[in-house]
Amino acid sequence: MSADANDGISRRGFLAISAATLGGVMLAPGIRLIEIAGARAPATGVSKQVRWGLLIDTNKCTPGCDDCVKACATENGLKDTGHPRTDPQWIRKVELKDMRTGRASSVPVMCQHCEHPPCVDVCPTGASFKRADGIVLVDRHICIGCRYCIMACPYKARSIVFEAITDQNPDVPRGNGCAEGCTLCVHRVDRDEQPACVEACTKAGHNAMTFGDLNDPQSEIAQRVAKYASTQIRADLKLNPGVRYQGL
């Protein structure tokens, strides 16, 4: 092992390396140890050892900035149909102001990927479901468009598609008559990438969003939530969302 590859070596990463070497598997150069710990073979299903989460630092989120919203629309093919009241909305910026102190904050709100999701409880068909790794999705093959989930979600995170859609992103199938909401960019997560909003926020230098595995003590998000105070929106509902907010 060269010295630079040793950067950030952890006991866990070291064990993973020894196991890999013992198994006769060659490690490609440039793969960071932490990624090996998180990577999943393409033919194995998602596991409940992982809990994907998002931490949003409202102190860093700039009022008026909608880089995340734009990135989401581009990635998932959400187009303006000229009917803003009924267009699906996966992520939106909410501006808050404490009337007593005058402190204003601006926060992106999307599906909170609840551990106990009411959208799943009310769905009559089983279309609304939670993946083992905590991502809440709509299986459009099963959804009948009854909109129960839209009514049940306390975060207004679900929309229905009212108009026929063409030219979808091949990774993000969407269509008329189905409920939908933020998927945490599950198609990107499954290839070990970050959700598009997080990537855009980081790229623009705001660094207000952190995505990662809340169950992995080595991950940045787990270390942040362990160190800094963070809250969940409407924590009183005890849905245990995977999306947490810092500085609210």
Partner: protein
């Protein structure tokens, strides 16, 4: 002896007629009497399985893969619809739909509705080039 001969002749004729009736559709299909689907097949040759299996079983393959992808995040490409589209989209229209499109031409011929493309893209991802 004579009666037996007539009986045998009649049964032989009957058998010939039956055989002809059975063969008719095949013969008709082999000749050009029945219209066949006109399909743009840009990439002929081996698919992920042999042609007969693909013709018969592609709906089951797709349905099986769809459930494991959706619910378990298994995104292997062997039986994925995205991979079908990536390979079979027409070079001219860029799509598997359209009159001669790989999917639509045959489905229209067989009178089977394809719902897939109400949600799924009928074209390959643009960033990966025109014909990936």
């Amino acid at each position: 002896m004579k009666r037996k001969g007539i009986g045998a002749l009649i049964s032989q004729i009957a058998r010939a007629i039956c055989l002809l009736a059975l063969l008719l559709p095949v013969l008709a299909f082999a000749s050009d009497r029945v219209p066949k689907p006109v399909i743009d097949i840009d990439k002929a040759g081996k698919c992920v399985e042999d042609t007969a299996t693909m013709r018969r079983e592609h709906p089951d393959m797709l349905k099986h893969q769809r459930d494991s992808t959706m619910h378990e995040g298994i995104r292997t490409t062997k039986y994925s619809l995205k991979a079908c589209v990536a390979c079979h989209a027409s070079k001219t229209s860029g799509s598997v739909l359209g009159e001669k499109g790989f999917c639509q031409s045959c489905h229209a011929y067989a009178s089977v509705t394809i719902d897939c493309f109400r949600c799924h893209s009928s074209k390959p991802k643009r960033t990966s080039g025109v014909t990936p």
